[in-house]
Subunit: 840 residues, 2 copies
C-alpha cells in the first residue's frame, strides 16, 4: 500500500500525529498498540482533507485497495481537539446491489433492504445533499434508487471507490463551512484548524450468532465513581441505535436484559480492555464496540463525558491510583468547575418552566416563596419557610433580609451590583438585572410581559448559575464539597505559590472561609457589622448627634460591640492574619430611604420628622461613590476611626491572652493622598499607645492602605512610606479608571461587550491594559519605596483565575476573594504554579 | 566709622543688598544716588538684627557716634519684600530732659512737653511693653517719667545709646514673634526671612519757618492716572499725623489750604524728585518728606499702593513712556488682578452689613431681589428687575434662570459645583456653599441663624469675588475693560507662545469670547443648546420615544436647530477653529425632578403621569458622573451623534460658502477604550460622506477625543491612532483620579485644605503629582503614536496660570477656558513666555 504520511494505515509504528491526523486517529493507534481488536483503519491527514475540499483527490484506488473486496467501510472525522467537532460519521460505504443480494440470501430480504435503504439515504441526503423528503419512509430500496437516478441523472454508484470519494469530499467541504468554523473557533480552534478522516473496515451488523453494537464506560458520568455503564443492541450499528428502548445493559442487571448474560467472556474482555485503556491512555474512556458473530471489535474510544463532580472524582481517583500525578489531576479540572460542586444546581434533566432570564450573578439555585421586602424575608426565614427576595435593586439596609433569603432576584444591576456582590459573599444564589420583571411594590406583585401575575407567596426557582428564573419548584442536584473536592483542594494548597485569603465581614463569614482553608482574611469590611438592628440604631444616633459629646457617647456604645466582633474574628482565625478595613461607606447608607423608615427613625430618636428628613436630604450625594466616605469620613469625623482602632487593639489584647499574639492589620480605604495616611496613622498610633498603657500589654500591628483610586496607585511610592501593605481594591479602581459606576453599568454593559467595545466586562475580568497598568505602576513604586511592602488584590477580581495569574506574575503576596471563590482561586493558583514548573 | 557690612551708612557706594539689608535700605540708597536730600541713614543687616534678637549687640557706641550729639533718630524696619511687614517705626530717639529744655526755650513749653511725652509713651509702651494705661492722657512728662521709674525701678534713660539699644532689641524680637512670622509666611516669606533696620537722623518737627511732614505721590491709587496726591501737616512728624483733619493739600487746590500756596519752590522740587524717582526707580513711588525751616528732606519712598485698575494703568503708562519695557509691564501685573477689572466690585470703602459668607465661586458683585426659582428669575428679568437666584444647589434645568439672574447664591457646592462652573461661564457673580443658609422653598424664605427671616423680593448683595453676602444694596465699583486693560492684553497676545481658546456653548458665549480675542473655541458643549424650552420639549419626546421611528422623528426636528447653532458659531468665529463636543450628559438631566414638572411633562407628552414617573425613575443613576453618558450614550443611542454630526457638516457647508472653508473639530466625550473611538469615527465618517454626496460640496474635519478618564490617558497611544487631537478634560479627570465628585467635595474640601491633606483644592489648582502625571503620560503616548496630534486642556483648569505653565512645559498646543478667564490666561501665558526668554 502507498503508506504516505497523507494516507496511513493505523499500525503501532505508523507516524500518526495528533496535529496532522487528529485526536481520534491518535487514540485509535494507541488502542492498536495495546493489541486491542481494532478493525483495519486508515488515517487521512489534515493536508489530504484540505486538498479534498479544493478538489485534489488522493490515490483513491490505492485507498480502496487497502480493504478487501466486499468490505463495508465507515468514515469518521478526527479533529485535533475532541471538542472542535467535525462532520458526522458515514457508515456502510460499499453497499450495493450485489452486497444487498448476498445479505438477502443469508439473512433475509428485510435485513438486506433495511441496510441498503439506510445507506442510500445517507449517501443521497448527507453526502450529496439531495432533498430528504424524496427518501422519506415508507419507501423501498428500489424506489429510492429510482429517485436517486432521477435527481442525479446517473444511477446510484455501485463501486466502493466512487462512493468513498464522494463521502470524503462531502466531509472535507462540510468542515470548511462557515457555521462549522465559527462553532469550533468558539471552542478555541485556530482559523486554520485541520480535519483528519478515518476510513475503517466495518463488521456487518447482522449475523447468525451474537452480533450487534454497543458503548461502555467504567465510571459513572454523574458521580465519577467506578461503575460499568453502557448499552448494547443486537443486530444494530452505530451509536444512534443505542438510544432505542430495546437496548440492553452490559453487566448483568436486575432491571433488564444484559449482554453479560449471554456473552460473559466478551464482557470480561471489555472489562480488561477498559482497565488497560484507563492505565495506558491515563484517562477514563468510553468505548464503542461491536460483536460480529460473537467476535469483539473495538471501533473507537472517547473521553468519558462527565458532570462537574464526576470530573473532580475521576481526576482524583486517577491520581490516587497512581495512573496520573497529582499535578496532572490539578491541571485536568477547569477551576470554575468547582463552583458547581459548591452549590445546589437545577437538574438539567428535569422539567423547566422558564419565567425570565437575568444575569447569573451568584451561583447556586434555590426554590422558595416570593417576598418583596427584607423584613418579609426575615419573617419567612424565622418560620423556616424558604423564600426568594425580589427587589428592584438592593441596598445595605436589605442585608439582613438577603441573609435570610434562599435566593435573590433583582430587576436592576449587573455582575457587580450591590445585590450580586453581597449575594456572592453570602453564598446566596442571585439573578440580577432581570430587566423583564415588572415589580409593583405597593401591590406586591411581579409580572413578566405575557405571563400571569405573581404574588407574594407564589413559588419560584432562581438559578444563579444560569441566570434563569423558573416557575414553581425545580428538581435539584445537591452540592458535593467533601471527598474528591476536598482532596483536590488539599493538593492545590501544596502546589500553589501565592497566598489566598478570604474577604470576611463577620465571624460567620470567617467560619465559612475556614472551612475552605485560607491563609487569612484579606478584607474585613467593618461597616457590615453595623447593620444589626441594635447597632444600626446607635449608628443613627451617632449620625444625628448634636455635638461632639453626643457623638462620642454613641461611639462609646458601639465600641464594645465592635470589640466583640474582632475578638471573635481573631479567635476564629487562630493567629492567621486578619486585615480590617476601617469604616468606608457614606453615612447616608445607614439612614432609611422611605417615608415609613423616616417616621420610625424620628420616633426612635425622638426628633421631629422634618428634622430627620432634612438631615437625610442633607447627607444625600450626587455621586456617593465619589463622595464623603472612606478616609475622608475618617478625617472629618475622627471619632469613628478612633473607636474602631480602639476596638481592634482591645480585641488584640484579649485574643492574644495565652495564645500566639495576634498582629492585626488595619487598612485605610479610599486614600488619594499621602497626607491622609499620615493623619490616620498618627491617630491610630496614639490609640495603640493608649491601649498599651491602659492594659499594660505590648502588641504590634500593621497599618496599610487600600489602593482604589488611580491617584493612590500613581502615588504608591510616597504612600508606601507610611504603609506596611498595599491592597489593591480593583472594584473601585476599575470604576474610577473607566469612569464607570458598576451599579449603573448594567444599562449598557451588554451592548458594550456584544459590540466588542470592551472585550469583556472589566468588573468581571481585570482590565490588564488600563487598570492593570495602574496596578503594576503602584506595585513597582510601592516596592521601590519599601522593598518589604506586602502587595495584594482584594475585591471581586481576587477570585478570578486571570487576575490571579496577573497578581502572581506581578509578584503579589496574596489575593483575597469571597469565601465561595476560594476553591476556584486555589485551583487556578495551583495550575499557574504547575504550568510554570513545566515551562521552566 | 566702623563701616562693616553689618552696619552700613547709606552712601551711593555702600554695599547695600536687598537680601541683606532689606528693600527699604536699598530704596534709600537709590534715592541717595539720585542726590536727593535724604537724611543721614545707617542700615543694620539681617544678621545684625538676628543677633540682636539673641542678645548680641552690635557696637552701639560706634553706631550712636555716626550721628551728631543731640540728633533725634528714627528706626524703621526694612524687610526683603515690602509686603512681608515688620515692626512699626519708632521716632524721636534721643529725646531727654536736656533736649526738652532746649526746645522749651526755643519753641515754648507746650511744644517741648508734647514731643517728650510722645517719646516717653512710645518707649515705655511700644519698646518696653509697659502698661499703656499708665501713660494715658491727661498726663505730664514729669508724671510719665515718675511712672516709668516706678515700673522699671530705674530712671528714664537719658542717653541716646541706651534708648537706641532698647529700640533695636525690641524691634528685632517683635520680628521673631509667632504672629508676625505667620503673617509674613502667608505672604510668601520663607521661614527664615530676615529683617533689616534703618537708623535715620530726624529733623525736629517744630521750627520757626515752614516746618512739617508730608507724603506725596504722582498718580491716583484708584485710577492709576497721573495726578499729584498727598497730604502735609505743619509742625508735625510721621505719617500718622497726616490723617488729621488739619492736614493740607500739596498742590494748590480749591478745596482747601495747600503747601504749594506757601512753598511753591519746595513743591516744585518734590515734583522734580517725583519725575526723577519714577524714571530711575522705574516705578510710581509714594514719597515721605519733611520740611525743616523750609528745607526739604526725603525720608523714604515706597511703591504707590494701588487698586487693580490703577495697577494696570501704571504698568501700561510706564511702558508707553519708555520707562520700562512692555515685557516688564506684562510681568508687573498679577494675572488674577485682571479679574477685578472685568467685574463690578463691592466698594471696599462703603458700608457693609454682612449676612453670611460662602465660597467665592464666580467673581463680580450684584444687588437684587431674592428669587427662589429659575422661573421667578426669568420673570423678574423680563420686568427689568435685578434679582438674585437663591437655590440649595442648581441643576441644568436652572440654566435659563441662572442666565436671567444678576447673581447666584447656593447653600451647597464648592468651587466646581454646577452653580459655580455655569456662573463663571456666564460671567454671573456666584457665592456657593453658603452653608449657614436655611432655605425653605415652600415658604419661600431664607434664614441665617440669629438674623431676621428674608423673603422673596428682599434685597441682598452677592459678592462673588469675596464670597460675602450683604444685606441690602452695596456701593459698587464698575468694571474697566477698555484702555490700559485692552492694551495689556494686546501686548500679552504678542508675547505668549501657547494658544488660548475659549469654552463657548452658545453664539452668545462665542461673541463674548471674541471681545477678549481668542484663538478659537476649545470646547462647545452642545447639550446646553437643548435647554431652550422648545428644544427641551423635543429632547424629552426623543427620550420618551416608543420606538426607533419616533426617536428618529424627534431627532430630525432637533437637526435644523442644531444646524442653526453651528452656522452661527462658525460665522462668528470667522474661520477660527471650533471644537464641538458631542452630546455628553445623562439623559435624566433633561427630565423634571419634581411632581409639578412631571405632571406638566405628562400633559405635554400626552402620557399617564405614572408612566412618565416610571421612566424618570428608570433613568435615575446611583452615580450619574460614572454612568450612561458621553460616548456610552453615543454608542447605545446612535441617533443622537448621527444627528449632531449631520448638523455640524451641513452647517460647515453653509458657513463655508464664499468664505474660507470651515474645518470643524468634533470631540468625543468620556472615552475609555479605543474601540469607542473607532465606532463613532466610522459613524461620523459615514455621515460626512453622505453630506458631501447630498450637497456636492467637499469639506474636511478633525475628529478628536476628550481625555477625561484615567484609562483614556493611559491608553492615549492607541486612541490617538484614530484621533487628530486629544483634549484633556481635567475636571472629570481630577474627579476620577481622586475618586472625588466635585459636587460632593464641598462637604469636606475646606477641612482637607485647612489640614493640609490636599495642599490645594485640586479642582482649582491642577494636581501635578497625580492628574498631572496622567496628562504627561497621555501626551507622551499620544504623540508617540501620532507625532502631529494636537494636545490641549479644556475645562476649568484651562484658565489657571499654574495649569497654563504645566501645559506650556508639556508642549501642549493650547488651553481652553471660559471667556471670562481668557484675559487672566493670556497674561499668565505671556508672563511664562517672558520668564523663559529671560532665563534662556
Amino acid at each position: 500500500m502507498p503508506d504516505t504520511p497523507d494516507m496511513l494505515q493505523i499500525t503501532p509504528s505508523a507516524p500518526i500525529q495528533t496535529d496532522q491526523h487528529g485526536n481520534r486517529a491518535k487514540c485509535l493507534q494507541r488502542l492498536v498498540r495495546l493489541e486491542l481488536p481494532v478493525p483495519l483503519s486508515v488515517a487521512l491527514s489534515f493536508d489530504t482533507v484540505r486538498g479534498l475540499a479544493l478538489g485534489h483527490l488522493p490515490d483513491m484506488t490505492a485507498l480502496a485497495g487497502i480493504f478487501d473486496d466486499g468490505d463495508l467501510l465507515s468514515v469518521r472525522s478526527s479533529s485535533q481537539a475532541p471538542d472542535w467537532g467535525g462532520p458526522g460519521s458515514v457508515l456502510n460505504i460499499g453497499m450495493n446491489d450485489a452486497v444487498a443480494a448476498r445479505i438477502a440470501k443469508e439473512h433475509g430480504q428485510a435485513a438486506a433492504d433495511a441496510l441498503y435503504l439506510s445507506f442510500i439515504r445517507s449517501y443521497a441526503v448527507d453526502v450529496l445533499r439531495l432533498d430528504e423528503d424524496l427518501f422519506a419512509a415508507p419507501i423501498t430500496p428500489r424506489l429510492a434508487l429510482a429517485h436517486f437516478e432521477d435527481e442525479m441523472e446517473d444511477p446510484f454508484p455501485q463501486d466502493v471507490e466512487t462512493q468513498l470519494t464522494e463521502v470524503l469530499r462531502a466531509m472535507a467541504r462540510a468542515w470548511e463551512g462557515t457555521s462549522a468554523r465559527l462553532l469550533r473557533q468558539a471552542k478555541g480552534a485556530p482559523a486554520d484548524a485541520g480535519l483528519g478522516l478515518i476510513v475503517q473496515r466495518m463488521a456487518l451488523s447482522i449475523g447468525k450468532e451474537e452480533t450487534g453494537a454497543g458503548v461502555v464506560q467504567f465510571v459513572s458520568s454523574e458521580s465519577g465513581f467506578a461503575q460499568i455503564t453502557g448499552r448494547y443492541l443486537p443486530q444494530s450499528q452505530g451509536r444512534a441505535a443505542l438510544s432505542e428502548a430495546a437496548a440492553q445493559f452490559i453487566e448483568t442487571d436486575e432491571r433488564g436484559v444484559a449482554l453479560e448474560d449471554r456473552c460473559p467472556k466478551q464482557v470480561e474482555a471489555l472489562r480488561q480492555a477498559g482497565k488497560l485503556i484507563r492505565t495506558r491512555l491515563r484517562e477514563e474512556m468510553q468505548i464503542e464496540f461491536t460483536l460480529m458473530e460473537g467476535k469483539l471489535a473495538i471501533l473507537d474510544a472517547v473521553r468519558v463525558p462527565r458532570s462537574a463532580r464526576g470530573d473532580v472524582r475521576i481526576a482524583v481517583d486517577l491520581a490516587e491510583d497512581g495512573v496520573i500525578s497529582r499535578d496532572d489531576a490539578l491541571t485536568r479540572v477547569a477551576p470554575f468547575t468547582l463552583n458547581q460542586l459548591m452549590h445546589r444546581q437545577v437538574n438539567p434533566e428535569g422539567p423547566k418552566d422558564l419565567l425570565t432570564r437575568g444575569i447569573a450573578a451568584a451561583p447556586g439555585a434555590a426554590t422558595g416563596k416570593i417576598v418583596f421586602t427584607a423584613s418579609a424575608a426575615q419573617s419567612a426565614s424565622s418560620k423556616g419557610e424558604p423564600c426568594i427576595l425580589v427587589r428592584r435593586e438592593t441596598s445595605p439596609e436589605d442585608i439582613r433580609g438577603m441573609h435570610a433569603a434562599d435566593a435573590i432576584l433583582t430587576e436592576r444591576g449587573g455582575m457587580t451590583s450591590h445585590a450580586a456582590v453581597i449575594a456572592r459573599g453570602l453564598g446566596v444564589p442571585c439573578v440580577s438585572g432581570a430587566t423583564d420583571l415588572q415589580l409593583d411594590h405597593r401591590k406586591k406583585t411581579l409580572t413578566v410581559p405575557g405571563r400571569r401575575v405573581f404574588h407574594e407567596g407564589d413559588v419560584i426557582t432562581v438559578d444563579g448559575s444560569s441566570g434563569e428564573v423558573l416557575v414553581g419548584a425545580a428538581t435539584m442536584i445537591e452540592p458535593a464539597m467533601g471527598g474528591a473536592f476536598a482532596t483536590l483542594l488539599r493538593w492545590a494548597d501544596d502546589a500553589r505559590d501565592i497566598g489566598i485569603r478570604a474577604n470576611a465581614d463577620t465571624p460567620e463569614d470567617a467560619r465559612l472561609a475556614q472551612t475552605f482553608g485560607v491563609d487569612g482574611i484579606g478584607l474585613c469590611r467593618t461597616e457590615h457589622m453595623f447593620f444589626d438592628p441594635i447597632r444600626l440604631t446607635v449608628m443613627r444616633e451617632m449620625i444625628f448627634a448634636e455635638d461632639q459629646e453626643d457623638r462620642k457617647a454613641a461611639l462609646e456604645r458601639l465600641l464594645p460591640m465592635q470589640r466583640g466582633d474582632f475578638i471573635e474574628l481573631f479567635k476564629l482565625m487562630e493567629g492567621q492574619p486578619v486585615c480590617i478595613r476601617l469604616f468606608d461607606p457614606p453615612l447616608h447608607e445607614f439612614l432609611p430611604g422611605d417615608r415609613d423608615g423616616i417616621r420610625a427613625l424620628a420616633a426612635a430618636l425622638d426628633l421631629p420628622v422634618s428634622r430627620v428628613a432634612a438631615r437625610i436630604e442633607n447627607l444625600q450625594e450626587f455621586n456617593p461613590m465619589l463622595g464623603m466616605r472612606g478616609v475622608r469620613l475618617g478625617i472629618t469625623v475622627p471619632g469613628i476611626y478612633s473607636m474602631q482602632a480602639r476596638a481592634i487593639f482591645e480585641a488584640t489584647v484579649v485574643a492574644s491572652q495565652g495564645k500566639e499574639p495576634v498582629v492585626p492589620e488595619i487598612m485605610i480605604p479610599l486614600v488619594s493622598a499621602k497626607r491622609e495616611v499620615e493623619l490616620i496613622k498618627d491617630r491610630v498610633d496614639a490609640v495603640a499607645a493608649a491601649v498599651r498603657n491602659e492594659t499594660g500589654t505590648q502588641f504590634t500591628y500593621r497599618l496599610g492602605v487600600m489602593v482604589e483610586t488611580p491617584r493612590a496607585a500613581l502615588r504608591a511610592g510616597e504612600i508606601a512610606e507610611h504603609a506596611a501593605f498595599l491592597s489593591f481594591g480593583t472594584n473601585d479602581l476599575t470604576q474610577m479608571t473607566y469612569g464607570l459606576s458598576r451599579d449603573d453599568a448594567g444599562r449598557f454593559m451588554s451592548v458594550y461587550v456584544n459590540q466588542g467595545v470592551f472585550p469583556e466586562d472589566p468588573f468581571q475580568r481585570l482590565d490588564r491594559d488600563g487598570v492593570g497598568e495602574l496596578l503594576l505602576l503602584g506595585a513597582e513604586r510601592g516596592r521601590q519605596a519599601r522593598p518589604d511592602v506586602t502587595l495584594s488584590i482584594c475585591g471581586e477580581h481576587g477570585g478570578d483565575p486571570d487576575s490571579i495569574a496577573f497578581s502572581r506574575a506581578a509578584g503579589f503576596d496574596y489575593v483575597s476573594c469571597s469565601p465561595f471563590r476560594v476553591p476556584v482561586a486555589k485551583l487556578a493558583a495551583a495550575q499557574l504554579a504547575i504550568s510554570d514548573t513545566i515551562e521552566s
